[in-house]
């Protein structure tokens, strides 16, 4: 059933001049499907990682101790103003080599290219999240914080129970934007041979010379994922909306 549908699709696209024949072949189709799964896996892994570190950075950023806030500020400015690809190459070629040297050879190094993509993209997007959450924290009315202090909340409790819930709501649109950016950033893994979708596609099109066909699917794939991310973000925004603020449902 599935096979005949696939064959019908290949025949039909063949008629309008698009070559999807590799889908019927075992090995290439398998690599290509693997690429999609790796990209999805990266996205599903990176979203919680980036959000967790984003919260951590935001908490450090709003700390009253400069020793805590200044390094995070510097990290944010550096990640935001340098290309992610350069950060990735730097981490993979320099930091990874240093780790290997310390552990005595590359064979003892447990850090894979996949790890470096998650680390670099995750921390990069976390830095963007942190700035968005900081802006949200600043938007919390001073009186609310004062009231919380008056009831005897500690600085950490205020952050946990008063500022963070309100700040997250205010920064949700910016966070969703960052997540869409995150989805797009997963493609840099291509540079260090993580077999995500662009890397897998190169494998196929060097054999078949069908760049246009693969590009159509990749563009639709990313559009669909980002549409889903935007929709889910919008849904969460609506669920968490504070009554009496904004334009309402």
């Amino acid at each position: 059933m599935g096979n005949s549908l696939l064959q019908a699709f290949i025949d039909w696209t063949g008629k309008i001049g698009l070559n999807y024949e590799f889908l019927a072949g075992g090995y290439e189709a398998q690599i290509w499907r693997g690429g999609f799964i790796t990209t999805l896996y990266l996205i599903v892994l990176l979203i919680p990682v980036s959000l967790a570190f984003g919260l951590l950075f935001a908490a450090m950023l709003t700390s009253s101790r400069k020793l805590v806030s200044a390094p995070v500020r510097a990290f944010i400015e550096i990640t935001r103003n340098t290309p992610t690809l350069v950060q990735l190459m730097f981490s993979f070629l320099v930091l990874n080599t240093l780790v290997s040297n310390v552990l005595g050879g590359a064979q003892n190094n447990p850090l894979s290219p996949f790890f470096w993509v998650v680390a670099v993209v995750g921390l990069h997007v976390a830095a963007l999240h942190a700035d968005a959450i900081r802006a949200g924290i600043e938007a919390v009315p001073e009186q609310t914080v004062e009231a919380a202090r008056a009831i005897g909340f500690t600085r950490l409790q205020i952050l946990r129970f008063v500022e963070a819930p309100l700040a997250i709501r205010a920064s949700l649109p910016a966070l969703v934007n960052n997540l869409i950016n995150l989805v797009k950033l997963t493609t840099v893994g291509n540079a260090i041979a993580v077999s995500e979708i662009t890397y897998a596609s190169i494998m196929v099109w060097t054999q078949r010379d069908n760049v246009v066909e693969l590009m159509i699917v990749i563009l639709l794939f990313f559009s669909a994922i980002n549409l889903a991310v935007a929709r889910i973000g919008h849904w969460v925004e609506k669920r968490l909306a504070v009554p009496g603020f904004g334009v309402g449902s």
Binding site: L61, T62, S64, K66, S69, A70, R73, A74, E77, I78, R80, N81, T82, P83, T84, L85, V86, Q87, M89, F90, L93, V94, T97, L98, N101, R134, I137, E138, E142, I180, V183, K184, L185, T186, T187, V188, N190, A191, T198, I202, W205, V211, V212, M215, I218, L219, L220, F222, S223, I225, N226, L227
Partner: protein, 257 residues
């Protein structure tokens, strides 16, 4: 001004100091190892030529992207569905597409030369990278333009109509001039982001800064030089993009009121 605001402002002022300290550390490191310094000086012109390519690609991509994007942004609000829908589709697809994918697409789909009136004109990879980045830039500019047009009060359109302006005249003489100011901060953010996107061109073999640094580090084969080369790359992008993003933030604060 709240406590947090004062804090973040002071953290901003400290940043140049922090950066200055890093440069001093790098300078001391270089002076401590003179062979490293001379190798770096030897390779600096090569790295510089790569960086000029980054700047050229980003300027051309932003120029093309802005020209096309403004028109697309206006068309997104066109009354005719048959004009509006294809443009909305274009913007949605290319705004959500990774820059790297678009650079791959233009590099591998376009021919390496084009025939114009019997002459073979070369179509180099860097020009394809320009187009690959101009496409997402145009989609973003279209969204920025649409947002700016929609943020202008409907009464202005009505007033213009009352004064006898046609729809196009109102757009040209009354609406768009106000949009330019509102869309400047997001446009500059986009400029910084496209400039950083030029590093992706190294993956399709364009000779730009990252590519030059990789070349240099493979030729020299010293770990400390590799570290230094990538620090130079980071610094170059930072020096180019940081002023843009801090100026954007200042503009945003001023235009907010």
């Amino acid at each position: 001004m709240t406590n947090a605001k004062i804090l973040s402002a002071s953290a901003h002022n400290r940043l140049p100091w922090l950066f200055g300290a890093l440069i001093v550390i790098a300078a001391i490191w270089l002076l401590a190892d003179l062979s490293l310094l001379s190798t770096l000086i030897e390779w600096l012109p090569y790295l510089g030529s790569g960086f000029l390519m980054n700047i050229l690609i980003s300027l051309l991509a932003m120029t093309g992207g802005t020209l096309v994007g403004v028109i697309l942004g206006i068309l997104q609000l066109a009354p005719l569905k048959i004009v509006r829908y294809p443009v909305v589709f274009y913007v949605q697809v290319f705004r959500n597409a990774p820059h790297l994918v678009l650079i791959f697409a233009t590099t591998y789909i376009f021919p390496f030369e084009i025939v114009v009136a019997g002459h073979y004109l070369p179509f180099p990879d860097w020009l394809k990278a320009v187009i690959g980045l101009a496409i997402p830039a145009s989609a973003y500019v279209a969204e920025i333009t649409r947002g700016a047009i929609q943020s202008i009060a409907t009464t202005q359109w009505e007033a213009a109509k009352g004064l006898g302006f046609s729809r196009l005249q109102a757009l040209r003489w009354i609406i768009l001039p106000q949009c330019a100011r509102r869309s400047l901060p997001p446009w500059m953010n986009l400029f910084a982001s496209i400039t950083m996107g030029t590093a992706l061109a190294s993956l399709v073999g364009v000779h730009e800064l990252l590519h030059a640094a990789t070349d240099a580090s493979t030729a020299v084969r010293r770990l400390d030089f590799t570290v230094l080369a990538y620090i130079v790359v980071m610094t170059a992008f930072f020096v180019l993009c940081y002023p843009i993003s801090s100026l954007t933030r200042r503009l945003e604060r001023r235009l907010k009121v």
